[in-house]
């Protein structure tokens, strides 16, 4: 993955930029020691690394505004960063950029149960947002698997999803308002505790813009009352096709589970070896979870179990208590960790129409043989958001490149069947060069207009999302 060459004019005035930043921030909030800037050299896409020119950790919206004003004046690119768990390289710096981390902005500013929202600073982690309202039986719905570490800032940057978004939607459906600092330092407030925009839906386009339109410092988030209970069932099938048909049949039957998760044989085998959750050895496994009171859970599960039985399951297991429920989820939750134990892997994130599931899984299996690289599938089946994990050996020369080529082919397949390159992880640098397989040049141009308007000098996270060749002239005018 190519990154633009650092701008020598910026590198040459490094000392001045740092001293100007020190004028507006406490001493320890400007990190320029090369040993320390290395902590910011990558996100969770660790194959690509580059220490930034400096990293800053402002403690208030006002400080963020000062930093951006200076960088704007100096023409320095800025890469916003939450917790750096992006799997797409969204928070990867360039050598001539300043990392602006919001990790010190973690306060809860307001909780309001009557109006069902919480207002937080965006450095706060996803899980600790729920943590702040849990004692009152409320929760924040979007739940990426990385929720212990990832920040609301990055969730907004990537419009992140989670296992329960079939029912509750993704970040954009739960985001009511933001405080955002524009690249020139202007602070804007968009949305709030009320619903919908009065004018154009700017909030909608900011969410998922990967740090390219502004730095979000505060967010108003919808919170929900916890359901009375929840229960998963586990179903095993002897083919991916049948499991896929079962998913469709459940959806058509009028029940809306909160989650439908899918794992294939390679993934089941790896997780069993690692987590010993007691999963059946079969071709495909579904975890379906429903919520509500005891009677409501029963009613929904009866419908779901009846459908499952029509699909000749090799295993059908309903959690009898919370212990068993935890065991059913255990394997799914440790799937990524398990794969990491046995191999290096690359996690893809294409989304496909649910109806194409069997075909896509079969094609991935065939391609896996052609490329000679293993693939395990674990994903959110209810909404078609796939997560093929391609296994490779980072120490073997050429394996990463092979893996990337295989990944690109899978993503092209997703687009071919009517899906998209990324359902929740974002484009970053990882899928940047594939954008033209999904979008025409004019489709992309319309997206660039949005950036032109929000960040006319193209300084915010400029080397991401779009193919470098497409953005070259715009980025050059900044330099």
């Amino acid at each position: 993955m190519e990154m633009p060459k650092p701008n020598p004019a910026i590198l040459a005035k490094r000392a001045r930029i740092i001293s100007r930043l020190r004028e507006v921030l406490p001493f320890d909030a400007v990190i320029d020691d090369p040993h320390e800037t290395r902590a910011y050299e990558c996100d969770a896409l660790t194959a690509y690394r580059c220490p930034p020119l400096a990293a800053v950790l402002p403690q208030s919206t006002a400080e963020v505004s000062e930093v951006l004003r200076i960088c704007h004046e100096e023409g320095v690119p800025v890469v916003p960063r939450g917790s750096g768990t992006s799997l797409a390289g969204g928070a990867l710096p360039t050598a001539d950029s300043v990392i602006l981390g919001v990790a010190r902005l973690t306060a809860v500013l307001e909780t309001d149960y009557d109006n069902r929202f919480i207002r937080v600073q965006t450095g706060r982690t996803n899980l600790s947002v729920t943590g702040a309202v849990e004692e009152n039986d409320f929760f924040y719905a979007p739940d990426p698997s990385s929720q212990l570490a990832c920040a609301i800032a990055g969730n907004i940057g990537m419009n992140s999803g989670g296992a329960h978004c079939l029912k509750y939607g993704v970040t954009t459906n739960n985001l009511l308002g933001v405080t955002m600092v524009m690249m020139d330092g202007t602070v804007v407030e968009i949305g709030g505790a009320h619903l919908d925009a009065g004018g154009l839906d700017l909030l909608g386009v900011i969410c998922g813009s990967e740090g390219q339109l502004g730095v979000v410092t505060e967010a108003t988030l919808r919170i929900l009352r916890k359901p009375e209970g929840a229960r998963p069932v586990l179903m095993g099938f002897d083919s991916n096709e049948v499991a896929g048909e079962c998913v469709s049949a459940i959806i058509k039957a009028g029940v809306l589970p909160v989650a439908i998760e899918f794992m294939d044989r390679p993934c089941i085998e790896a997780t069993e070896a690692f987590a010993k959750a007691g999963y059946p050895m079969c071709e495909a496994l579904l975890i379906v979870e429903v919520e509500g009171s005891e009677a409501e859970i029963r009613e929904q599960l009866d419908v779901i179990l009846a459908i499952a039985k029509r699909h000749n399951p090799v295993e059908l297991r309903e959690a009898a208590d919370s212990d068993q429920a935890a065991r059913i989820w255990l394997g799914r939750k440790s799937a990524f960790g398990a794969m990491g134990q046995i191999n290096d892997y690359m996690c893809l994130d294409g989304t496909i129409p649910v109806s194409s599931l069997p075909y896509v899984l079969r094609r991935i299996g065939e391609m896996s043989k052609e490329y000679g690289l293993g693939v395990a599938n674990v994903f959110h089946a209810g909404d078609g958001n796939m997560h093929p994990l391609i296994l490779f050996d980072a120490n073997k020369p050429g394996d990463l490149e092979l893996c990337e080529a295989f990944g690109a082919d899978i993503l092209k397949l997703c687009v071919e069947v009517g899906g998209c390159l990324t359902g929740e992880h974002g484009v970053g640098i990882e899928k940047r060069d594939l954008m033209l397989t999904q979008y025409s040049p004019s489709d992309l141009e319309a997206q660039l207009w949005v950036k032109d308007v929000f960040d006319p000098k193209w300084l915010l996270n400029p080397a991401k999302v779009f193919p470098l060749s497409v953005t070259e002239t715009r980025r050059d005018q900044a330099a």
């Binding site: 919908d196 154009l200 839906d201 700017l202 909608g204 813009s209 909404d383 899906g419 998209c420």
Partner: protein, 380 residues
Amino acid sequence: MLQPKSEAELADLLAAAQHPVAIRGGGTRPIGRAAAGEVLSTVALTGVTLYEPGALTLVAQAGTPVAEIEATLAAENQRLPFEPMDHRALLGTEGTPTIGGVVAGNVSGPRRIQAGAARDSLIGVRFVDGAGTVIKNGGRVMKNVTGYDLVKLMAGSYGTLGVLSEVSFKLLPEVEASACLILEGLDDARAIAALARALASPYEVTGAAHIPNRGGTSRSMIRLEGFSKSVAYRADALRALLADFAAVEVITDTATVRQIWKDQRDVTAFAGQSGDVWRISCKPSDGSGLAAKIKGDIIYDWGGGLIWAMVPEGYDLRASLGAFAGHATLIRASEGTRARIPTFHPEPAPLAALSEGLRRKFDPKGILNTGLMATAMPAA
């Protein structure tokens, strides 16, 4: 009237256009001052292009009648989650509402509080910008973060950024049963507190409205939907939860419940009466305080977060409210009122500049519903 029969024809037409056009779907939801120029109608762009019940997705051309879509979905026992309002009764208009108009106005209904607005169910758009370029964004899958979300930007842009040619939605199953809980005699503040308590319960309320006392007694209404046993269970639970507010009557007859919420959705109480109609979005607990400043009739929805106000003609409601967190839109008014009072809520300068900047990019010739969303009145 211009009436392109295909997206390509629409694109040619806009590429060649030298003068403003007034974009129209079914013409049932006119808003703002009539845009200048020849009418450009989307009614010839019709048809459901893809419907996959097992994937909960539907794609349709922008001019497709909403009724056709609803009938198509009903046959598979599914529905649009956001319950789009039909404006005809309230505005006294005739014609056939189109799905493109629903998207252009981000039109939703009482279920907005639980299932989201049109923008939340919209997963893809195709449109033609003001220079005649065909642009697509999103697609037909439920989760998609590939590039910027122009889908949201188009929802509620009232044709000022482009003319929609095709829209895609995610859907929900139709419910087996519904019920409506009614509490009588509460004043506005108490009613909103009761609705808030219901909304903060785990009982998945999909409608929370209040109609203040207008000569009779006030009615607060809460809707439950789902499997029948579940609805019955939750109705009982809420009745107990709200007992200290008022006695709770539970209506379970499906046809009656449907009619109550259809009337609520379409604000039929204000149909056929004289007076301007405003729509205010606010923090729910601010609702009764704001309404108290308004000289006129009030209906609340969204647990107090949506206020419908019918006021004497020409009354400047925004001036009476003063500054507040939210926005007020003039939905029904005479030409005279429209000439004096901006339809859309004024935005802070930096946001207005962003919106203006986006319009210039998407509509470089300034021909798409020119000035429709302007929040300042043009100099006389």
